[in-house]
């Protein structure tokens, strides 16, 4: 893992190239993988470029700076647009966990590096499947590698991830992943959907790439559902647009809006993390 990183580092010369590599790693690697890079470079006393020194130091502070253990999530790819993060465990251990289908925003993250997010979710309680839409089309054309439209993709996802074997299965999404989050929970009969600053069908019509795409299947799914999930919509108190999105979604199905007090930015999760409140917020949203 360290050697692969070094090889990629060797190809970088400009600050932007280093940033591109590091952003990609932030959006993919589990906490233990990042820590293996940090520790591996340090243990082998490797000379790495300043951009790498800086990034490794930043990640060390983000992930372990408060003294917390490295969560034992192990990553494996399910499809091009889907990666699973789960600590090792036998059937008995896994049946007590909550499965979280997590739909990322346009930047392919959950408002922060995935490793930082996972550090705040105990690995003995959760397993994550991280879903990305690199076409930035709100997942309407489906998840790459799992089908050509959203309903097909989440049906395939259900077959692959077997939510029924877990104690609980929920969906979680940020920003551009918000609509997909609610839709997946409705269609798969999940216990809960959590949408943080999440988009609604209204934003679909506003975006150039998706303005001609239909969200009727979402309305159908709501109509046909025998039982609706608990829907939590999270928005910063002072972010009008996100408050507006929550209102819009609340009109489509029963939902509870959770307002983060004082929050002004769209990226409420990172702000809450900075204030030291992410463990509690995620516990409230996921548990």
């Amino acid at each position: 893992m360290v050697d692969a990183y070094l090889a990629k580092l060797a190809l970088c010369t400009t600050p932007n190239q280093f940033n591109r590599l590091h952003i990609a790693l932030e959006s993919l690697l589990a906490p233990a993988e990042i820590c293996a890079l940090i520790d591996g470079v340090r243990e082998r006393s490797l000379a790495v470029p300043p951009a790498s020194v800086y990034w490794l130091g930043q990640m060390d502070t983000l992930l372990r700076g408060d003294g917390r253990r490295v969560q034992g999530y192990v990553r494996h790819a399910i499809a091009q647009g889907a990666s699973a993060y789960a600590a090792p465990g036998d059937d008995r251990a896994r049946m007590g966990r909550t499965l979280v289908l997590a739909f990322t925003g346009d930047a392919g993250r959950l408002m922060m590096p995935i490793s930082l997010f996972l550090q705040h979710c105990p690995a003995d309680r959760y397993e994550f499947v991280l879903l990305t839409d690199q076409t930035r089309s709100f997942f309407l054309p489906g998840i790459t590698g799992l089908g050509n439209d959203f309903p097909t993709s989440i049906a395939r996802l259900r077959d692959l991830c077997a939510p029924s074997r877990f104690g609980r299965a929920i969906s979680f999404g940020t920003s551009a992943g918000g609509l997909a989050t609610v839709w997946a929970a409705v269609a798969l009969g999940l216990a809960r959907a959590v949408s943080v600053g999440g988009v609604t069908p209204a934003e679909v019509t506003e975006r150039d790439r998706t303005k001609h795409m239909s969200t009727e299947a979402f309305d159908d799914a709501i109509r046909r559902a025998t039982r609706l999930p608990e829907v939590l919509l999270v928005a910063g108190e002072r972010h009008e647009r996100d408050q507006g999105k929550a209102l819009t979604m609340s009109a489509l199905l029963p939902a509870t809006t959770i307002t983060v007090p004082g929050a002004e930015n769209h990226n409420v999760l990172f702000d809450v993390w900075k204030a030291g409140g992410l463990d509690d917020l995620l516990d409230r949203l996921l548990a």
Partner: protein, 476 residues
């Protein structure tokens, strides 16, 4: 750590989490610790100090658990003398264990020649009593009767250390609300309730309520409903009357074979969240099949490497090959009380051998075929009753089948079966014989009798000896 110390920790960290819940009462961990301590002091002041083995006959489930926990706190060895068992059975168990005092509720609970203490009278005298001294958690305190339906029940004694290790290896109940309709006086319920409390989860107790489990689950927000297969069949009936379980309730069936027909019916009508587990009293939890794993083989999940299947020569069987099963587990029993012969036979080299036949299939699934003792030999051919039962239960008219041997001087043992039909169905035994012959050939039952109800013991296990005795009479 003793149980008392563990509960004290829960009283600190989750004081307001319900520990025991019934229709009439809720005891949080904070309140539970207080009640148990009070009762322990009172029992001690009445002369129960842990130096004698106590037989417990207490009918209310919350009361029974309080008594159990108080005796554990006192370091007092105990055995449940179940109120539902006949007097002779209770007396025999008390004798074998060496009960020196019966803690009961009614004069009838007393056992000849054994001192009796009135549980409620003692409780009513709850005075200060002095603090209970700490004891060694590795002392055997909880006497339980073991697995198996043949001969006298085997007796095991577990320490709190054993129970804590079993709890940690069991399903995670720490955030769950667990309902077991089977009374806490019984073995499996007793252990599971103690595991739940050890882990800090909530015990939902029917405690005499006669409501259907479906209603209890909704009323108490039950997240785990744990049943024997017999209770599973009742659950189907209850669902047809009262509607399905809440979406958050998972069902776990254990304790005996869960036929595929029952599993499918539950999946179709009661809940998709069906789990089937396998374990023994001697070793506790072994494995569990989750909702995605149910098929014709009737698997019970993928166990850890502490489960092995052995050939007759005691080498390990290959995947897919059947043999006898042996088990290891943290906190397991290592001997039977007062039965050296059975101990030597069943506990070997640090493993427990229940005497069950099983297969570890190529996909890692464990399949239990039944007791090795039940295997029949007809003219040198090995026939497992469970094979016959599975085939007969595929017939649309058959609800439950029980296969067993008729002894024959000529052939050794002849397989026959008795069946209960589905409600409203009619079928002749002869038709079932032909049906089974098609599938099983020489291993088919030579006679099948339709009975109104299979004879069963209190736990729901079919009493095949009684059936065999009935068959031996000439045909009417």
């Amino acid at each position: 750590m003793t149980f008392a110390e563990r509960l004290e920790r829960h009283a600190r960290d989750r004081a307001d989490v319900p520990a025991l819940v019934s229709a009439r009462a809720t005891l949080t961990f904070g309140a539970l610790v207080h009640e148990v301590d009070r009762l322990a002091r009172t029992l001690r002041a009445s002369g129960i100090d842990g130096s004698r083995i106590v037989g417990v006959t207490v009918r209310g489930e919350i009361d029974h658990l309080l008594a159990t926990l108080a005796l554990l706190a006192l370091g007092c060895p105990m055995v449940a003398l179940a109120s539902r068992e006949p007097a002779a059975t209770r007396a025999r168990l008390a004798l074998r264990v060496g009960v020196a005092l019966v803690l009961g509720e009614r004069p009838d609970d007393a056992i000849d020649g054994v001192p009796f203490a009135d549980f409620h009278a003692i409780r009513a005298n709850a005075g200060a009593g002095s603090a209970v001294p700490r004891h060694d958690p590795s002392r055997p305190l909880l006497y339980l009767t073991g697995s198996g339906t043949t001969g006298e029940p085997k007796i095991i004694a577990f320490s709190e250390r054993d129970l804590s290790m079993q709890s940690d290896a069991h399903i995670d109940y720490s955030r769950e609300r667990v309902l077991r309709p089977a009374h806490v006086e019984y073995n499996n319920s007793k252990r599971m309730r103690l595991y739940t409390l050890w882990q800090g989860g909530t015990c939902i107790l029917a405690d005499g309520a006669t409501d259907a489990p479906t209603l209890l689950c909704a009323r108490h927000a039950v997240t785990w409903l744990e049943l024997s297969p017999m209770h599973g069949a009742s659950l189907l009936e209850a669902t047809r009357v009262h509607g399905p379980l809440p979406a958050y309730t998972r069902v776990r069936i254990g304790g005996a074979r869960a036929p595929i027909a029952l599993r499918r019916a539950i999946l179709a009508e009661v809940t998709p969240r069906l789990y089937v587990s396998y374990g023994t009293t001697e070793t506790s939890f072994v494995s569990v099949a989750d909702p995605t794993m149910h098929d014709e083989r009737e698997p019970v999940g993928r166990p850890t490497p502490d489960t092995e299947v052995l050939r007759a020569d005691r080498t390990r069987a290959a995947p897919g090959e059947s043999g006898t099963i042996r088990l290891r587990a943290p906190g397991m029993a290592t001997a039977y009380v007062g039965d050296d012969v059975a101990t030597v036979r069943h506990f070997r080299d640090g493993w427990f051998e229940p005497g069950d036949l099983a297969t570890l299939d190529v996909d890692g699934q464990l399949i239990i075929h039944g007791r090795a003792d039940d295997m029949m030999i007809m003219n040198g051919i090995n026939i497992y009753p469970v094979e016959i039962e599975r085939i007969l239960e595929r017939h649309p008219a058959v609800e439950t089948a029980a296969a067993f041997p008729l002894p024959s001087g000529v052939h050794g043992q002849i397989p026959v079966a008795a069946v209960e039909l589905r409600a409203g169905m009619r079928c002749a035994g002869g038709e079932l014989v032909a049906f089974a012959r098609d599938a099983l050939g020489v291993r088919a039952p030579r006679r099948v009798e339709v009975v109104a109800a299979l004879p069963r013991n209190a736990q729901g296990k079919v009493l095949k000896r009684e059936l065999a005795a009935g068959f031996a009479r000439p045909d009417a």
